[in-house]
Amino acid sequence: MSRLGKITRRVFLLGSAAVAGGVAVGYWYVNRPYDNPLDAQLSEGETTFNPYVKVGVDNTITIIAPRAEMGQGISTTLAALVAEELDMTLDMVRVEHGPASHAYYNSAMLEEGGPFNFFDEGFVADTVRSALGTVGKVLGLQATGGSASTRDGFDRMRQAGAAARMMLVDAAAARLNVPASELIVENGAVVHEASNRSLTYGELALDAAKGSPPASVELKPRDQWKLLGKSQKRVDMLDKVTGAPIFGVDVSLPEMLFGTVLMSPVFGAKPVSQDLSRAEKMPGVVKIVPLSTTYGHGFGVIAENTWAAFRAAEAIEVEWGQPENPSDTEGLVEVIADAAARGEGSALRDDGDVDIAFADAPQERVLEAEYRVPYLSHTPMEPMNATARLKDGVLDIWAPNQMPTLIRWFCADLAGVPQENTHVHTTSMGGAFGRRGELDYALYATLMAKEADGRPVKVTWTREEDTRHDAYRPAAVGRFKARLGEDGLPVAVDMRIASQSIMESILRRWFPSMSALGPDKTITDGSHNQPYTIPNYRVSAIAAPLTIPVGFLRSVGCSYNGFFHEAFMDEIAASGKVDPIEMRRQLMADYPAALAVVNKVAEMSRWAEPSPPGRAKGFAFTLSFGSWVGQVIEIAETPSGIRLEKMWIAADVGTALDPGIIEAQLTSGAIYGLSAAMGQAVTFSGGAVEQSNFHDFDAMRMFQCPTFEVAILENYHRMGGVGEIGTPPAAPALANAIFALTGKRIRFLPLDREVEFA
């Protein structure tokens, strides 16, 4: 290894949020920078200026994009932020995910986790946001989620690029013996125009690394951006059209063994009795090992190839223990419905006085409805998998994952090796949608690697194991009540929403000795924080007492609150005989960003024009992850059922860094939401999930896909996320369109239980 790493100075970058938040948790601690993890990884002739930039003497420039690429295009956008400041184009740089490191903490993901709505900008709200972002730094949680990567990286990545640029310019100034002010950067080189001399970054790298990092950095003003704000060619596209082995399942190592798992389909249950003898004798089987973690109990099969492992897992004869929850869907839903009806709620929004507003309401002015959604599985295309090797006291884990630092921590503990001897290699992910924020696949692979005599084991789950062992989107039940005024607009709404608490479920898996504090705002996220002004407006969250494993699925609580809130708003409009969009214009008048989105999507979809016979449109709006999204969908009656014809989307994301990627995410999110709305449900029988594969848990296919028209707005002054925001309004837009087409108000998802889709 080169000694260069040892003499490299590090650039300590501090966002303003970290400084402000220092008040809350101690300035010294917050300012303690993490070591640059690249120092330990440099090869000969390579140097690094900060955790995001490596420059080789051969002029190979590597940008670290430390958020996991699950298809959302984040590696491209993060690299563009750095490349912009280095004045390079993306085809001139290499992009890597980088090692697991606390230096890559995600503060933006936690910032919106506080008790304030996105549009609250008072001093207290902002201070708490900063403090929570600081917690992200203190914990060093390297995570990809919450549609937060771009917001988190926007300043940090540009500062990293700018700092490196300034150090390269200083080195060039010294070498050329001219003042730095006479130098410009252009296409990966520092240029002295007056003397027509230039030096590549590679030629300057060694000198630059010896220099001092700048005390402050100057970022390019927006009007000088060359990459940002324009659609870039994705850096991962060529690999993905040529079948390059970039995914977790593609990891190939010398001496590698293969494996799979068979875990109890009854959550939390252990094997009561087992007979492994038949499985152990199957050809190609190396070893069968018991697995026991906070995620579940079962067996790992190590074999000479994946298919042999699958066959042997099927041959394991085992009787599992009893479920700790009601064993079927009906029983589970009853608990949640009971919580919605009678449970003690925490009001996360409580404007006016709802109880008084309903006390004297005439019956004909009151609207009541109950809504339900089922559990959902993430089903990314690439089934859960991880490869682990424990050799000579060093643990290596290759895994498509969203949580590298947590995986390092937990797996090191399981393997009994120190964290510094544990390396997490994050591969490209064949989809994730929140599923790979869990740790189970890595824990199981680690336990199996302990039994493999130093050989690596690539552990691939079957689709059936994947479908039946998820951290599901929780089922939810909402009870809604509205009082309409004389003008048909709501004067009071009361929303009681019950589901399992995701935070509580995660604590059970990650920190079983801790208990959750305070209400879980994900239960009502998407209902309690919408930009509507209604004089009496209460939204209460009730945690249902169940322990089915639940977790983050694309847009989390918004994935069902979008449906609850917006389908109920549509009911209010229908009941009050007000056009649904006109009603939004009235109720959202205080929120110009929302209003602009509503007006834009109404204009695009020609909302005001009546649909021809056999066709109808539906509208919905959700503010989520800092972005304001309105959708209109048009559907048509056909002989084989309802066909989704076209969806219009208007989204205000504040600042649009890559319009092409944002549009792709908006349609992707909408299709994900429409898939769930049309036909997906995870149901239970005998304590186990009934669905197992794509024949009974399918998603939208090409022939069902509508066309899309997308408008990206930049009115709001804060940047929003994009990865999840297309999902929440999709289900209610469709349900509202079905009401407009058929007069049928469907309050339970999935919709195909009530109508047929073509």
Binding site: S692, N693, F694, H695, D696, D698, R701, M702, F703
Partner: protein, 195 residues
């Protein structure tokens, strides 16, 4: 339900037992011939057969894990050329090979997997309707009843109906038994039930 099943099974056995014993005997009485047809109808209308004898262009799925009978997933169709072999890019044989998948819910397989011509529709058709179709050369592929019986006995894809693989209920009886029943029914004048 169990008693009904027992009765049906007993009826089927008696029909087929009779068949074996009387293969060389003179033709059946009219009532017996209709009972023979009832056994044949039980086979033809069984999901293992009827799911791919559809009038529209879409085969059906049914079975314990599919809920109610429904259209085959993935937009699988007869084929715009009417061949029954699927469409370019998505042929029946893209997924259905020469043998059944060993995986539960995996694709079943047999030689030459395809959809029966649309005029040979059995799905959701009554006993009388199927009977009329079977006897109509314009709708049965121009076959004599003897040729139909041999087709049922010898064709590999037809034979799959009795060996459909794990997790699927086979058609009642066997290819040989159905062949013999068809022979006896034809010999007795191939009477059809009246609706």
């Amino acid at each position: 339900m169990s008693s009904a099943t027992t009765l049906l099974t007993a009826a089927a056995i008696s029909i087929f037992a009779l068949g074996y014993a009387s293969a060389q005997e003179p033709a059946l009485q009219p009532g017996e011939a209709l009972a023979e047809w009832a056994g044949i109808y039980a086979v033809l209308s069984h999901p293992r057969c009827a799911n791919c004898h559809v009038e529209d262009d879409r085969p059906r799925w049914s079975g314990p894990h599919y809920g109610a009978t429904r259209v085959h997933g993935f937009n699988v169709q007869r084929g715009t050329d009417g061949s029954g072999l699927g469409n370019p890019g998505l042929r029946c044989t893209t997924c259905h090979f020469e043998s059944n998948s060993k995986d539960l819910h995996g694709p079943p397989g047999a030689e030459n997997w395809h959809l029966a011509p649309a005029e040979m529709v059995w799905w959701q058709k009554s006993s009388a309707q199927i009977c009329a179709q079977i006897k109509d050369p314009t709708r049965n592929g121009g076959r004599s009843l003897e040729e139909i019986a041999r087709h049922v006995r010898d064709d590999k894809l037809v034979g799959w109906g009795w060996e459909p693989g794990a997790g699927r209920e086979p058609a009642p009886g066997s290819a040989e038994e159905t062949y013999l029943a068809l022979e006896r029914w034809a010999d007795a004048g191939a009477p059809c039930p009246v609706e």
